[in-house]
């Protein structure tokens, strides 16, 4: 019975993992990069690199809100929506924007943005059109080019399979504590198994947490039935009741002057004396139906939707407060989302999240490679590899080496594509997928060790090209970032240098491995002859 149980668990682990491993690698890879979403977007907009972090950030928030509202009154008094984004530790920019009137057939209004230096309040040139880190964030659960709902269902199924693979993995790993620190190098598929085990075990709490909370973030799409049963109008009504701050009111045409922002801010600071305001939105300014929403940053609290307040813009009256009357389950759901997104993380925790994410990528990658390697080792000398094995090997090379290649190409495209290009942000994304396609073609031609080596050299080349192209096309480079202590930009450039070095190591390792194989093949007949002689 025991042996059967272990066997069935091993079978489940292998097939559940193998079926979705490439999609999971994409999800993990994009998710891991998304932990640095804001930092990557900052790197992608070199026009804003002159802006430095302001001193006394919190003390200046009241003055910044008043200044932005004053500017918006002059520029777009009739606009249906104003948005003010205050500088944050991860993003030094101070931005305000207003909605342009909707054109016929347009679903969402286009916003005109103004970027300011928070220290001087001087307007700076708008950055180039790019998606930056936001592309990876959406890729993580929307997969691009696929209908959003279908993509999210696919991601959910992959996460469910991942959760099953994690649980069965723990069950079948009999020596989980005994082999915790063991890695046996140069032992063929044994080494791959060790690498798979170590990368899984070292961040096991993270892997379980991120997969479970990932499923929870999309739970209302997968399992909407309780909400549909309880609420007459289904999910929308539930969400409206849970966050009344987001409830929409009918726009009225009756003009009413916008109340002084100080009246609203005084109430916010009375309720929350250390308030760190993140966004400040005003709808229908100068009308009777005007609403002002104030969103506070969460700091280190494990909550995704921090405190937020909704005021009437014409009277200054507090209409709703977010999170005040939440039930235990609403709080639980919110904290699960917070754990998954990691928006709460300080630089130390963000790097630890990133490290665990990389461990997750390594766990999936080693799992895929190990399956193919074991099957190939079992082949008899004259036996040809089957279609399944060839398919897995091709997909392995295309995905595991293709995604880093596409990512580095995406970064290079940001610097090299002409600034005046139409739909520039989409063209950057196109470069990402074209680069991935190129690596897939390379994998289809052959997925031999030599091809892996070529892919490693190509990856090293593009990784080293990122800081080089950045130095040639912008005013900074990784040494100047180090000297001026622009750590965000330095870390991105230096990250690519480290990745490039790792790919060189991989290329060298593959070269020695293929040399060993070819020498062995060459020596074998001679040895046989000697034995026969």
């Amino acid at each position: 019975m025991k042996e059967n149980f272990f066997r069935s668990m091993t079978w489940l682990h292998t097939w559940v993992g193998l079926l979705v491993c490439w999609l999971l690698f994409l999800i993990f890879f994009a998710g891991t990069i998304s932990f640095f979403k804001d930092e990557i977007t900052y790197w992608f907009e070199p026009e804003t690199h002159t802006v430095t972090h302001q001193d006394n950030r919190l003390a200046k928030q009241r003055q910044q809100i008043n200044y932005a509202v004053e500017q918006l009154q002059n520029k777009a008094a009739d606009s249906s929506s104003w948005r003010i984004y205050l500088p944050e530790p991860r993003n030094p920019l101070y931005t305000y924007s207003y909605a342009e009137p909707k054109q016929s057939g347009q679903r969402r209004a286009k916003f005109t943005e103004t970027y300011l230096d928070p220290t001087t309040n001087e307007q700076i040139a708008p950055p180039r059109e790019t998606k930056g880190g936001y592309f990876f964030y959406r890729l993580h659960f929307d997969l691009h080019y696929i209908d959003v709902r279908t993509a999210r269902w696919l991601v959910c199924l992959a996460s469910l399979f991942m959760l099953i693979a994690l649980i069965t993995g723990v069950v079948i790993h009999k020596r989980i504590f005994k082999d915790m620190f063991s890695f046996r190098k140069n032992k063929g598929s044994r080494s791959w198994l060790d690498a798979h085990n170590v990368s899984s075990v070292l961040a096991l709490p993270f892997h379980i947490m991120i997969t479970y909370t990932g499923l929870i973030t999309l739970i209302f799409m997968v399992f909407p039935y309780p909400a549909q049963t309880v609420y007459e109008k289904g999910l929308q009504q539930m969400f409206n009741e849970a966050s009344p701050i987001r409830a929409r009111v009918e726009s009225s045409d009756v003009p009413a002057p916008l109340v002084s922002m100080n009246t609203i801010l005084d109430q916010v600071y009375t309720k929350s004396p250390d308030a760190d305001i993140g966004f400040f939105f005003i709808r229908d300014a100068n009308k009777e139906s005007s609403r002002v929403s104030v969103y506070l940053n969460t700091g280190k609290e494990v909550v995704d939707n921090g405190a937020a307040f909704l005021f009437s813009g014409s009277t200054g009256e507090l209409l709703a407060e977010q999170g005040k009357d939440w039930s235990a389950s609403a709080r639980f759901y919110d904290s699960m989302t917070a754990l998954h997104a990691g928006r709460l993380a300080s630089p130390l925790l963000r790097w630890l999240y990133f490290l665990c994410g990389i461990a997750g990528c390594a766990m999936i990658a080693t799992g895929c490679i190990m399956w193919a390697k074991r099957l190939r080792e079992r082949l008899k000398p004259q036996q040809q590899a089957g279609v399944g094995l060839k398919l897995v090997e091709t997909l392995n090379l295309a995905t595991l080496m293709g995604l880093p290649f596409a990512t580095a190409s995406f970064f290079i495209a940001n610097r090299l594509l002409p600034l005046e290009m139409v739909a520039r942000a989409d063209k950057e994304i196109l470069v990402f997928f074209l680069a991935w396609l190129a690596m897939t073609v390379l994998a289809i031609i052959s997925s031999s060790k030599r091809q892996w080596q070529l892919a490693a050299w190509l990856n090293a080349l593009v990784c080293f090209a990122v800081p080089l192209v950045n130095a040639m096309t912008t005013e900074g480079n990784w040494i100047s970032y180090l000297l001026t202590q622009k750590w965000t930009l330095f870390c991105v450039d230096f990250g690519f240098i480290i990745a490039g070095s790792l790919f060189i190591l991989q290329g060298k390792k593959l070269r020695t491995a293929s040399k060993k194989v070819s020498t062995r093949r060459f020596q074998k007949p001679k040895d046989l002859k000697e034995q026969q002689g």
Partner: protein
């Protein structure tokens, strides 16, 4: 400094767990691990890991628990590299770990 203390404790705990294994102990000290030593390593490991968890949660609540998970991952990764590739460094790194632990402990107590 508090974070450094929490991480040092976590690293020390996993180092003790590694040394409580016969193969790793033999590789580091070139002699056989006795039962008494094994129990001491395990006890020290459990005390320090719990101390690290308690300190993390006491100082930062839920956020501290997240940090603790990260410390565990980083410690196991560092120790795996250490024991698999540069086992001769284990003694030096253990002394460095202990020194950092004491220094961070003193600075947390003083400031």
């Amino acid at each position: 400094m508090m974070e450094l203390l929490q991480f040092s404790l976590c690293f020390m705990a996993f180092n003790c767990f590694a040394l409580a294994k016969f193969n790793h102990f033999r590789e580091v000290f070139k002699k056989k691990l006795t039962d008494k030593q094994r129990h001491s390593f395990l006890a020290t490991g459990w005390i320090t890991i719990l101390l690290s968890l308690v300190l993390s949660v006491l100082s930062e609540g839920g956020y501290g628990a997240l940090l603790f998970c990260g410390y565990m991952a980083l410690s196991v990764l560092m120790l795996m590299i250490l024991y698999s590739f540069t086992v001769s460094w284990v003694k030096h790194i253990s002394i460095l770990n202990l020194s950092i632990l004491l220094l961070s402990c003193f600075s947390v107590m003083i400031f």
